[in-house]
């Protein structure tokens, strides 16, 4: 194995794999480092994704699609059920363990080297200039030098901080989340269920995402400023006790979802930040799989261009920031405003909106119709919210 690469990608999630793939395809020598033993594990994710977004990267494949989605169910705080069926552009609940492998294989097949159990603990610097990474690998301290580092090291990102970029997430913008994968539950395998309200998940929502017959991911996110008085775990325990007391729990994962603005600065000399680490998450839905892949693609592409030009300065890399802003960053600014407005809706507001929508006959309850009806109550707002989810 070499000790010097054009590009080092820290993190082997969707953003990292796409960064590695596109950098390698652009002609750069690439090393991707994953701290865990296995790419894709543990799965800290609800696993739902829009079909359109994914299709830009790879053909759908049943080996990583756990279920195909064409409907939503919204449950209001009072328990009123609103079903929305026949979504024109549906989605999937993924099996992220297999999916993330697939993405890493794409990077590997493009020529990127990959190491797992490789924990990056610092940067190599010459003065202020970044020259590579220091890592622990199989209990040994190792160093790899590179011209560019792409930090796709997740919500707990520290690589950016070492480079002097502030990546800290404000507590009000962090969703404290927990999810269990459960069997023996009554769920519909083509439908995503969302529960709203201050008793279920204040400042967030609870999801039931089917992974098969009687098998689902059930989780919730609570806005950080609400988690103080009652933790995400307690909200989930209460929900399960009330709704699925017989469920068998196969696994529990916890984590934070950065429902914030994209970081204002996602590049500097010799470094770019992508994915959750850069807060590339739809602030309304909390969805970040395709966002991260898009961010990784842009970063990897620009890294390869930098290698070809021999220019690794911020001045050259800043095009990545502009490209991201144009592709998704700008629309996420708007989503963030919507999120702020939604967080002010009371349970009564949500109940009234649900009543209006449910007064429509089922056959006419298409997404478009629901939008129009919701407009009566909350002009523009709900429209954008539902659209945000439809494009996770």
């Amino acid at each position: 194995m070499k000790d010097e690469y054009d590009v080092i990608v820290v993190g082997g999630g969707p953003a990292g794999s796409m960064a590695a793939k596109f950098a390698a395809e652009g002609g750069a020598s690439v090393l991707m480092l994953e701290k865990d033993r296995d790419i894709g594990m543990p799965v800290r994710c609800g696993e739902a994704v829009g079909a359109d977004g994914l299709a830009r990267f790879l053909e759908p494949n049943d080996k990583w699609i756990a279920s195909k989605i064409n409907s939503f169910r919204l449950v209001s705080p009072s328990g009123l059920i609103v079903d929305i069926e026949g979504l024109s552009d549906g989605g999937y609940v993924l099996d992220r363990r297999i999916f993330d492998y697939e993405l890493a294989l794409m990077a590997g097949n493009a020529g990127a080297s990959i190491m797992t159990k490789a924990y990056v603990y610092d940067l190599i610097k010459d003065g202020d200039s970044i020259k590579g990474v220091k890592l622990k690998y199989l209990n040994e301290k190792v160093e790899f030098r590179s011209k560019i580092i792409i930090a796709a090291d997740g919500v707990e990102s520290r690589v950016g901080r070492w480079a002097g970029i502030k990546t800290t997430i404000k507590i009000k913008d962090m969703e404290s989340a927990i999810q269990i994968s459960v069997g023996n539950v009554d769920c519909k395998s083509n439908r995503l269920d969302f529960y709203l309200g201050s008793e279920v998940a204040p400042g967030g929502y609870l999801w039931v995402f089917p992974k098969g017959e009687n098998y689902a991911n059930i989780g919730l996110g609570v806005a950080g400023n609400h988690n103080k008085s009652k933790s995400a775990r307690k909200y989930l325990d209460d929900f399960m006790e009330k709704n699925y007391p017989e469920a068998s729990i196969l696994t529990t994962v916890v984590g934070g979802v950065p429902c914030a603005h994209t970081l204002p600065k996602i590049a500097a000399d010799n470094i770019m930040i992508a994915g959750d680490a850069a807060h590339m998450v739809n602030p309304v839905s909390g969805g970040g799989i395709v966002s991260g892949m898009q961010g990784g693609r842009l970063a990897g592409t620009r890294a390869a261009e930098a290698v070809r030009a021999g220019d690794y300065s911020y001045k050259f890399l800043t095009k990545y920031e502009k490209d991201w802003h144009k592709l998704l960053g700008k629309s996420y600014e708007r989503m963030y405003k919507i999120k702020s407005a939604v967080s002010k809706l009371t349970d009564d507001d949500l109940n009234r909106t649900a009543e209006i929508i449910s007064s429509l006959p089922q056959s006419k309850r298409t997404l478009g119709r629901v939008f129009k009806t919701a407009l009566l109550k909350h002009p523009k707002l709900l429209f954008d919210v539902v659209r945000a989810f439809a494009s996770v």
Partner: protein, 63 residues
Amino acid sequence: MIIVEENKCDFCGTCVAVCPVDAIELFEAQIDILHDRCIDCDLCVWICPIEVLHTVENEATLA
């Protein structure tokens, strides 16, 4: 000071992400609070989804 119940921790890094002074280090199944950096703001205690971080008077309180 802030302490972590390591045997309950899921090592998800949510606390690391909200720490304003970079005082939490996480490596595989090991998490350390750097007490010389920590400013006792308690944000990590609030955000933890499963309540494994706690504020204590001193380390002996845990035992």
